[in-house]
Every structure is written in structure tokens, then in C-alpha cells.
């Protein structure tokens, strides 16, 4: 089971600032372990973000994104108390969905 994402969502002026940290190894498939064997690729491929039931962002992700990737942006037309739902899928088909409420 994948570790939960850390989601921070806070109103700042007329927009909500959303920060999502996914806990994921983001292996490129190009690295080798100590014995010289390739480490298989294991990375997040998509991350979707919905606020108050509406899709606001769909990230597509490659291996050039760091381990434990952080994503962040702002959303207008939302308010404190709205629910933020983030969901990722990785290249092995594992998935993780977490929620937060805009402060």
C-alpha cells in the first residue's frame, strides 16, 4: 500500500494555494543496484486534482521528476471548506487517492 499524499490547500486572497506531495520512489529504470542489476522503472504517470467535484488539473508525469514529487498551483472560484481530491496512478498500476479541505 502506497503512503498517503500530503495535501495542503489554503485560501490566499481570491485563490486557493494547493500543494501536493506524493510519496513515491520515482525510479527511472535507468539506475543499477549495487550488484549492477538494473532497478526496474517505478514512477507516477498521472496525478489528477479535483476541487469541489470539478477537475482542475491533470498532471502527466515522466521519470525526470524527482523522488517524492511535489506539485503545486492555485485555483480561483473556490472557497474555504471545499474538498480537494488528489489521485495518482503509477506505471505498475498502483494507485492512491487522498483528500483535504481548503483552509
Amino acid at each position: 500500500m502506497a503512503s498517503p499524499m500530503k495535501i495542503r490547500a489554503r485560501m490566499n486572497g481570491d485563490a486557493a494555494q494547493i500543494r501536493i506531495l506524493a510519496v513515491h520512489p520515482m525510479e527511472t529504470g535507468l539506475r543499477k543496484d549495487g550488484a549492477g542489476k538494473p532497478i526496474p522503472a517505478h514512477y507516477v504517470q498521472t496525478l489528477t486534482v479535483d476541487v469541489a467535484g470539478k477537475r482542475v488539473a491533470r498532471y502527466e508525469v515522466g521519470t525526470s521528476v524527482s523522488k517524492n514529487p511535489l506539485f503545486g498551483f492555485r485555483v480561483r472560484g473556490v472557497k474555504a471548506g471545499d474538498k480537494v481530491v488528489a489521485s495518482w496512478v503509477d506505471n505498475k498500476g498502483d494507485t492512491r487517492t487522498d483528500e483535504a479541505v481548503i483552509e
Partner: protein, 156 residues
């Protein structure tokens, strides 16, 4: 004789057999993922192919597309960047690292009330240009910055 191929040919369009092959790990769902149009761009091993995969052609430079990044990244494993598009009608942003083995790092489609900006953390194998590509009204725009990397982040 290639037994997997034989089995597949016999199975024809039998979905259950295909599903069991997936489950057995004989067939990997790589082809299924390739159906995603941008997956090819993510798998491109050169900048030109990655840009082609995004259908970005030769994007125009724009002062309204801002790429914030450090001039020097001490640790190539985590390089924080921020892209802000002030171009009206922006629908998506992409971030590419020219000299990485797989240059396309990220593509994001905005909808609803999302402001067309994003922060991200990149891996950088070595010193490279990083470029942000924005799509707005069917046109592509680019902003580019050189980032010097002291310790590469893709080694192992």
C-alpha cells in the same frame, strides 16, 4: 516456436484469455499505455522527439511565460522549478530537461478555475537547459533557462 504468439493467435479476440495473460505477466500492459498520445513523448530519448510528441513544433519565445529556477542546482536529484503562464487562453504546460535521458518531465492540463502555473521538482542528470512549453489557443510558446548541476541526480 514462439508459444506466446501461438496462444495469442488461437485466442483471437477472446478477452478472458488476454486478461489471464496479463494476469500471468506474460503480456505487459505497455501497449495499452502507448495508446495515451503523450506517452510516446514521455518515452522519447531526445529533445526533438519529445517536442514532436507534444505536437509543439517550433514554439515561439514569449515574455509572458515565466520559468523560475535556480542558476545552480547543487543536487540534481531535486531541482525546484516554477512555471507561470500569463498568456491568455493557456490550457497546458510542459516541462522538459534538454540533457536528461528522457527529457519530458511533466505535462499538466488545467481546467476549472485553475491558474495556469505549476511548481515541480525535477531530476537533472547534468547541467542542462530546462524549458517550459505552454499551449494557448492552439499555439505553443517556450521559455528556457540554463541550470548548472553540481552533482547529477540520475546516477546510480
Amino acid at each position: 516456436m514462439n508459444n506466446t504468439r501461438r496462444t495469442l493467435l488461437k485466442a483471437g479476440t477472446n478477452g478472458a484469455v488476454l486478461a489471464s495473460l496479463f494476469a500471468a505477466g506474460i503480456l505487459r500492459p505497455v501497449r495499452v499505455l502507448a495508446a495515451d498520445p503523450r506517452r510516446a513523448a514521455f518515452e522519447a530519448t531526445g529533445l526533438a522527439d519529445a517536442l514532436r510528441g507534444l505536437s509543439a513544433g517550433t514554439p515561439a519565445e514569449s515574455a509572458d511565460l515565466v520559468l523560475k529556477a535556480p542558476d545552480i542546482a547543487e543536487n540534481g536529484a531535486v531541482v525546484p522549478v516554477e512555471v507561470i503562464s500569463n498568456i491568455p487562453g493557456t490550457t497546458s504546460l510542459s516541462i522538459l530537461v534538454d540533457n536528461n535521458p528522457l527529457p519530458l518531465a511533466l505535462h499538466v492540463e488545467f481546467s476549472g478555475g485553475a491558474v495556469t502555473e505549476t511548481v515541480a521538482r525535477l531530476k537533472m542528470a547534468k547541467t542542462s537547459a530546462v524549458r517550459a512549453v505552454a499551449q494557448a489557443g492552439g499555439k505553443f510558446y517556450v521559455a528556457r533557462r540554463e541550470i548548472k548541476v553540481t552533482i547529477g541526480g540520475c546516477g546510480g
